[in-house]
Amino acid sequence: MKTVIVIPAYNEEKNIRSLIVSCQLMGYNDIIVVDDGSDDSTAETAKTAGAVILSHVINRGVGAATQTGLEAARRMGAEIAVTIDADGQHQAKDIKIITDALIASKNDIVIGSRFLTVENSIPRVRKIFNSAANVITFFLAGVYLTDTQSGFKAFSKRALELIQITANGYEFSSEIIREAKYFRLRIAEVPVSVIYTPYSLSKGQNLATGITTIFKLIIRTFMR
């Protein structure tokens, strides 16, 4: 099945090449990098490594970049699209785990969960915000998952056609789950490994973005 890897990236020139190469080594050659208005040479580095580059002229956020990438994957005829974080926290070897779960159980979305295995060393603040986001997502979508904020996901062709992300920021993850529930898509989670480095910790959600994400989720839940 044609699998397209989607990597939303913002100022990731340090990591993007190694991530692309590790995906290629796993046999995935259709790789889209959405350069979300980076100030550095993310786009050039990714292009040299062999990825298809789509550039946002200004920074719009990880949700916006993900939607651009998924739309591009759909146009490229993807039967499966996999989104993966550009900061190096996810492992290319786990792509097969989530795509296998997608195919074998005929799921529409498979989320790579950081919390289904005890081996992952996850900072406490991330655990707290993720738990809060899980609860809000439950009220938003009516489904409880262990890692609603994971950027590592696989989408079936059907999911690619139906899901439209409108959130620009990190709250897009919860929006995907809400949309999936609305369209009665099958969602599953599989455990994946995650490696937090000082670099990846500096790139992902922090206290400020976590609070903003939760605030936006609450507004979307109760005011929409």
Binding site: H56, R60, G61, A64, A72, M76, T166, N168, I219
Partner: protein, 115 residues
């Protein structure tokens, strides 16, 4: 009959009816959700009732909220309306952000069409 009413007692409900009609029109054109419509109807109907029956409304609000002074009750409900307005503004801002994102996204996807 209307000679006993102050001008604001007539203007506020009239204003509310116009805004509710606008909200219904937006709902019919799928520009508002049912939840937004119901919230707006509730707020503007409430404001109209308070304006039309001030004495009764103040007594009811004071009893209902436990806030003894009618003026305090008004301040309380004004704050509620202001918070609602603020959230509406945030949603409007988000809508504008979304339009901007659509533009950026379309420009990016043009690159794919060229390839």
């Amino acid at each position: 009959m209307f000679s006993n009413f102050s001008l604001y007692q007539l203007l506020v409900p009239l204003f509310s009816i116009i805004l509710i009609a606008k909200a219904v029109s937006q709902f019919m054109r799928l520009k508002r959700t049912l939840r937004e419509l119901l919230v707006l109807c509730f707020i503007w109907t409430g404001i109209s009732v308070v304006a039309f029956f001030p004495d009764f409304s103040m007594y009811w609000l004071s009893t209902f909220t436990g806030i003894k002074s009618g003026i305090n009750a008004i301040i309380f409900f004004t704050l509620v309306v202001l918070v609602y307005g603020l959230l509406q503004l945030l949603i409007k801002m988000e809508d504008n952000e979304r339009v901007l994102t659509e533009l950026v996204r379309k420009l990016a996807l043009r690159e794919l069409d060229k390839k």
